[in-house]
């Protein structure tokens, strides 16, 4: 029991470290890029949340922000870049185009980036206001702390499967509704409500 307790706490600490040192890879394709600039610019200053420095190499980034419309032609590039990122990695779909395709429903645009890569947080809006983006980042940080990011779940399941030496099978992950909006971060480490 004691060992579990220690490892559990250790994982929390690691996640806590992860969520405040996000290195983002902005996959900027379209209009939303303008607002992404605003987010990075002085007024909204995403640096305050530890996602300071955009890394333009996927191998140095653990957070991919998909900013703008993804077309079918763009799809393979997106997928490839995601595969190049080191695990654990997280994805934010910035804007309604990246989330669902938005009002571009046609032969060229992809109905949401999650057709190609698993998305952890979706930001609505066309484009979203910078405030929404910061909110999404906080949302993602809580998710990371809870260890519920897609790739975190995959890693956990793999580890579990290895321990059991059995089949590796991952249940499809659902995004939890945000329950504790203003919770102090340590308390957010406690398992919160919502479906498992």
């Amino acid at each position: 029991m004691g060992a579990d307790f220690v490892t559990g706490k250790l994982a929390d600490v690691v996640n806590w470290a992860r969520k405040f040192s996000l290195f983002s890879y902005p996959f900027v394709t379209a209009c939303c890029g303008m607002e992404y600039m605003s987010v990075a610019a002085p007024k909204y200053d995403i640096a305050r949340f530890g996602a300071e420095f955009p890394r333009f190499s996927p191998r140095q980034a653990d957070l991919m922000i998909i900013v703008g419309t993804i077309t079918e032609r763009q799809g393979p590039a997106l997928r490839r870049i995601y595969d190049q990122m080191c695990e654990p990695k997280w994805v934010i779909a910035f804007g309604v185009c990246a989330s669902t395709g938005g009002f571009y429903q046609n032969y060229s645009t992809m109905p949401g980036a999650d057709q190609v890569v698993p998305v952890d947080v979706y930001i609505p809006g066309c484009p979203p206001r910078p405030e929404q983006v910061l909110d999404a980042l906080v949302l993602l940080q809580e998710r990371i702390q809870r260890g519920e990011g897609h790739s975190q779940v995959v890693l956990k399941a793999e580890a579990l499967a290895k321990k059991k030496g059995g089949e590796y099978d991952v249940p499809a992950m659902s995004i939890k509704p945000r329950t504790d909006h203003l919770a102090a971060l340590p308390s957010a480490t406690k398992p919160t409500g919502g479906e498992g």
Binding site: V28, A30, A41, R73, S108, C126
Partner: protein, 418 residues
């Protein structure tokens, strides 16, 4: 007139390096190496892919591949009513959406034959918001380019100033970026209270920012070295490729739709068309800086001349009735319904309407079959033409030169790929 900072002959010899071949050391034989930039590359503005063939640092051939942001503007327009196209135009050149609004609204009005019925105030408003958009356009372009050249401060300064304009635009139309503020036949609504004062103060502060930026860049050795004499476009190229706007003007080709075919009320303002002399990257930079100053001149004059009045034509078949009427009388309800659902009925015909957008001549070629939606809604994207010359332009340059050259062409995915 020549607004560039210095005559070319003094400009071409910074560090005594003129041509790339000066770097070609004969004892370094290299075989051609294919190199791929993009589609996701920090300097590719997201959505362009360049398949280069380099010999050492030198580019021997470049294949510029666009289309990674093809969002089917035309197909979507053919399935939307004339009014529903506005949101799509916002997202063409998304760093100057108001200018696209203006271009499209004027095209449809030309097709409807109501161009001269647009109230004067509406025309002034269009000029004002348009020029504001032009300033944000150039600020974004220069800021981003400077950042790609390592001048991150300039990026932050420019975005600070752009943020002021965005907030004012938000006060006007409720959106920072994707505005959809204009309507066929006028504007959605009038300017907010105290608009003039706010804009004036913003202009003052923005001038300060521009001054700061020019002190940072204009005589900055690193910056100049990467711009001067690089990526030279000739006037002949512009005519051949249909390049307009700042890129064309940087070559000394003084073509500006606002002067050559004045629309709206542009003929009432006193402003200059800045032109360059060399047509290199630095000229493109300088022309854009000067254009922002000219836009500010226009804005100041417009704020003085604008008079109160209606902001849309008085035609129940084009403009929606008041909501109170819509909810309380069957007549207005029907009118509202028909305009929203069936769309404004534009008589059959074809028209090509052109305005001066951030990147040059933004043309709309509309074909109407008499129903409520366009049969064809073609947009003639200025930066498509400018991007088309890149393969020629990049030959013989260094890889490092791609960044400023591409950046100052100001290729905008939404507009180029549509």
């Amino acid at each position: 007139m020549d607004n560039t900072l210095a005559p070319p002959q003094t400009r071409r010899v910074v560090m005594g390096i003129q041509e790339p071949q000066d770097f070609d050391a004969p004892e370094l034989p290299t075989e051609p190496l294919p190199l791929n930039m993009g589609p996701s590359h920090p300097a590719m503005h997201g959505t362009v892919r360049m398949v280069l063939e380099v010999e050492g640092e030198k580019i021997s051939s470049a294949d510029v591949q666009i289309g990674y942001l093809h969002r089917c503007f035309e197909k979507e327009s053919e399935f939307a009513t004339w009014t529903q196209v506005f949101p799509y135009t916002d997202r063409l050149n998304y760093i100057s959406p108001m200018l696209n609004n203006v271009g499209y609204a004027m095209a449809v009005e030309k097709l409807l034959g109501i161009t001269n019925q647009i109230p004067e105030r509406a025309q002034y408003i269009r000029v004002i918001v348009g020029e504001m958009s032009r300033i944000t356009d150039h600020m974004t372009c220069l800021g981003a380019s400077a950042m790609e050249l390592g001048a991150f401060t300039v990026f932050l300064y420019m975005l600070k100033a752009r943020e002021w304009l965005f907030e004012l635009i938000e006060e006007v139309c409720g959106a920072r970026l994707t505005v959809s503020y204009l309507r066929i036949g006028g504007c959605a609504w009038d300017l907010p209270e105290g608009f003039a004062e706010k804009l004036r103060s913003i202009l003052e502060r923005s001038k300060g920012v521009l001054a700061e930026v020019s002190t940072l860049l204009d005589r900055n050795r690193i910056f100049r070295d990467r711009l001067d004499g690089i990526g030279v476009v000739t006037q002949q190229d512009c005519l051949q490729y249909g390049i307009t706007g700042p890129v064309a003007r940087s070559t000394g080709l003084a073509y500006d739709v606002r002067k050559d075919a004045p629309y709206l009320v542009y003929d009432r303002f006193d402003f200059d068309v800045p032109v360059g002399s060399v047509g290199d990257n630095f000229d493109r930079y300088a022309v854009r800086v000067e254009e922002m100053k000219q836009s500010m001149r226009i804005l100041e004059q417009a704020l003085q001349q604008i008079q109160p009045g209606p902001v849309a034509v008085n035609d129940p078949r084009i403009i929606l009735p008041a909501k109170s009427e819509t909810y309380n009388s069957i007549e207005a309800m029907i009118a509202h319904f028909k305009i929203i659902m069936d769309g404004i009925h534009v008589p059959p015909g074809e028209v090509y309407s052109y305005t001066e957008a951030g990147n040059g001549e933004l043309g709309f070629y509309l074909v109407s079959d008499g129903t409520g939606r366009p049969w064809k809604c073609r947009v003639r994207p200025p930066c498509f033409a400018a991007t088309a010359i890149l393969p020629e332009l990049l030959k013989g340059l260094f890889i490092a030169d791609i960044v400023p050259t591409f950046g100052l062409m100001n290729m905008i995915g939404g507009e180029c790929d549509r």
